[in-house]
């Protein structure tokens, strides 16, 4: 037994402590990303990881921060393995930190095995194309920007907009129709405030969703390293549940802006050359490594669908974070401040939103036969309504034609009846499409040029009673 050495080595020559980094001298054999234990003179133990290794020098990043650590009397123990977290289905219904420690005053999990949280990229040859519809219960998403199983669809929010509430509502309501019992949500809360953490916990408990949600959380006042580990641990759990337990997993990561800010902080402390906006030059690759841990695999029943949520600083969509995210993900759901100011929840701007894969997962046999055409018509009509509003602002509403006035009415009805819904309102796709027809019925039938006559006769409210 003693021969199978764990290769645990302990050093005490700390030459420098800078921010979250500890520089250890005399280390010849540390491995990059090797897990480290820091034991302070008072017996307190913290964990860290090797972030830089050279002959004779090793730089360790301490997860819990370096406050109170002194160069004398502190021992650094190299554990001979990477950062591994014990993962199992026992994590559903529980709250953990990124290192796998329970945060809900409960006991540690028993079942499961330790896994490297960096994961393995999915072999591109075994990736399966997303085609199954996920019903989020939110009309603006299900109707016009449908989410499919295995897709990555981020939500671009702004400061003060209700992205948290929307994320919690989606986590509670999302389901794959016909496979409700096999659906799980992994919620990665990155650098959230304490009141936000409390909100998520309370929301899931009170709505009964807690049973199917595994929450991995790091708070805003925790060291940046913990924030960067949060999505990795969350996605490791998602991968286990999806590809080994055959579950359909929705991974919601909130807020990726906090993740990128933590990355910037760590990069600055390592004195790396900054890229655009002061963010590290490798941020694109780093984000891609996170976002690409989603999809369907040939031969596996389960899947991971990702909904990362980010806050655009200053509502600027050209900011590096949303900009780079947009390159990697398959569309976006954009929240709009003007809609929010009008009291509309969720304030989803459907004209700025897009799901690139939606067309492959909707229609006959998947949602309803009229879904595609209603979706196209609603989008086109709303775009015209917004243009008409601009026109009305210039020439006055009285100068508009009757049809244009109808478009104005449609625009209001679309926002207040179709897009707007309650926090606890879970609409199935049929209800969403029926509401779509209801608002489209404001327009003259001749304006519904994107919809086949057969569908108009089948679903239009004017004809429904006559069937």
């Amino acid at each position: 037994m003693m021969e199978t050495s764990m290769n645990v080595r302990e050093y005490s020559n700390i030459s420098m402590i800078k921010g979250p980094l500890v520089v250890v001298q005399g280390v010849e054999d540390s491995a990059y990303n090797e897990l480290v234990e820091v034991e302070m003179p008072n017996g307190e133990r913290r964990r860290g990881i090797v972030v830089d290794t050279q002959r004779g020098v090793s730089i360790v990043q301490v997860f819990e921060g370096t406050r109170g650590i002194s160069p004398t009397g502190t021992r650094i123990r190299y554990l001979g393995r990477g950062l591994e977290v014990k993962i199992s289905e026992e994590m559903l219904g529980r709250i953990f930190n990124p290192l796998g420690d329970p945060l809900d005053n409960g006991p540690p999990i028993i079942k499961g095995e330790k896994r490297d949280i960096n994961g393995e990229p999915i072999n591109p040859a075994t990736r399966d194309y997303p085609e199954e519809f996920i019903q989020t219960g939110i009309s603006a998403i299900d109707g016009l920007n449908s989410l499919l199983r295995g897709q990555k669809l981020p939500i671009f929010s702004g400061s003060g907009l209700p992205a948290n509430v929307l994320a919690a509502q989606i986590a509670k309501q999302a389901t794959v129709r016909g496979e409700e019992s096999n659906f799980a949500v992994v919620f990665g809360a990155i650098g959230v405030r304490y009141d936000e953490a409390l909100f998520f916990k309370k929301f899931f408990e009170e709505t009964g969703a807690i049973n199917r949600v595994g929450l991995i959380m790091s708070l805003a006042n925790e060291p940046p390293v913990m924030k960067t580990l949060t999505p990795k641990t969350a996605l490791t759990l998602a991968e286990y549940l999806a590809f080994e337990q055959d579950m359909h997993v929705l991974a919601i990561l909130i807020d990726m802006t906090n993740y990128c800010e933590a990355l910037r902080e760590i990069s600055a402390s390592k004195e790396e050359v900054p890229g655009r906006g002061g963010y590290p030059g490798y941020m694109y690759t780093d984000l891609a490594q996170t976002y690409e841990r989603a999809g369907k695999v040939v031969g596996k029943k389960g899947s991971i669908t990702q909904m990362p949520i980010l806050t655009m600083p200053n509502d600027d969509i050209t900011h590096p974070i949303p900009d780079l995210t947009g390159y990697i993900t398959e569309g976006q759901i954009t929240l709009d401040r003007n809609l929010y100011n009008k009291g509309i929840y969720p304030p989803i701007n459907v004209l700025m939103s897009l799901s690139r894969l939606a067309k492959d997962g909707i229609g006959e046999g998947k949602t309803r036969d009229d879904h595609k055409e209603v979706s196209n018509q609603l989008f086109a009509a709303y775009a015209k309504a917004v243009d008409t509003r601009g026109l009305a602002a210039i020439i006055g509403e009285d100068s508009l034609s009757d049809t244009d006035k109808k478009y104005l009415m449609f625009g209001d009805a679309f926002e207040r009846r179709f897009v707007s819904q309650g926090v606890n309102e879970n609409r199935d796709i049929e209800t969403t499409l029926d509401i779509g027809w209801e608002v489209l019925s404001i327009l003259p039938e001749k304006e519904l040029t994107n919809i086949k006559t057969d569908f108009i006769k089948k679903y239009h409210p004017a004809y429904r009673g006559k069937r």
Binding site: M1, M2, E3, S5, M6, V8, R9, E10, Y11, S12, N13, Q25, G26, R75, R77, E90, G93, R94, D104, G106, P107, P108, I109, I110, K111, G112, E113, K114, E205, E206, T207, G208, A209, I210, N211, N424
Partner: protein, 192 residues
């Protein structure tokens, strides 16, 4: 020629029909308004009742889920308690492991491979003599220090480079036990 009576009768009939028509329209209109109002009230209150039912259902589901999770946590806590009892029992029986030939050979192999002149070897108090004997056999001058916290194995400190290599039984036991926890739980509690 029409008499006055007949004329009066005709006028009265006409007026009567007119009033009856108007009354009928008014009745129809009233009934329509009543039905409209009824539908409106029915819709509003049905929706309110539906909301209340949904809310109540959600509250029940919420309580059910919370209790379910509490239950799972309590069961897991209990399981962890009994597993830690197993660990305590293992520690009590550790002397049997330390007496085994493979353990002795393991210690000897580690010391042969790792110990150098001037190193400090930390060990459990009850093993100091054994370690000393092994070091004498290897003809290596190393200091032996007893560590009360150790249950077995050795830790070797190289003062010149500030390095300590940990081959303690505490470390090995901790890591092995952690990885065997699911199996122990299966034996104690059946399929989990």
């Amino acid at each position: 020629m029409v008499s006055m009576d007949e004329l009066l009768g005709q006028v009265l009939d006409r007026e009567f029909n007119y009033i009856r028509e108007e009354m009928s329209k008014a009745l129809e209109e009233s009934l329509r308004l009543i039905e409209q109002r009824y539908d409106e009230v029915l819709r509003t209150y049905s929706s309110k009742i539906q909301d209340l039912v949904t809310k109540a259902k959600e509250e029940v589901e919420g309580e059910k889920a919370k209790l379910d999770i509490e239950n799972k946590r309590a069961v897991l806590g209990e399981k962890n308690y009994w597993i830690s009892k197993v660990y305590d029992q293992v520690l009590r029986q550790i002397s049997k492991v330390k007496e085994s030939a493979s353990y002795q050979q393991g210690i000897a192999a580690v010391l042969k491979r790792e110990v150098k002149e001037g190193a400090i070897v930390y060990c459990a108090p009850d093993e100091a003599d054994k370690i000393s004997k092994i070091l004498r056999g290897l003809k290596v001058k190393a200091e032996i220090r007893e560590d009360q916290r150790m249950i077995g194995g050795v830790r070797i400190e190289y003062k010149d480079v500030g390095l300590v290599r940990d081959y303690s039984l505490d470390l090995v036991l901790g890591q092995v036990f952690e990885s065997l926890k699911p199996k122990i739980a299966e034996i104690l509690f059946g399929e989990i």
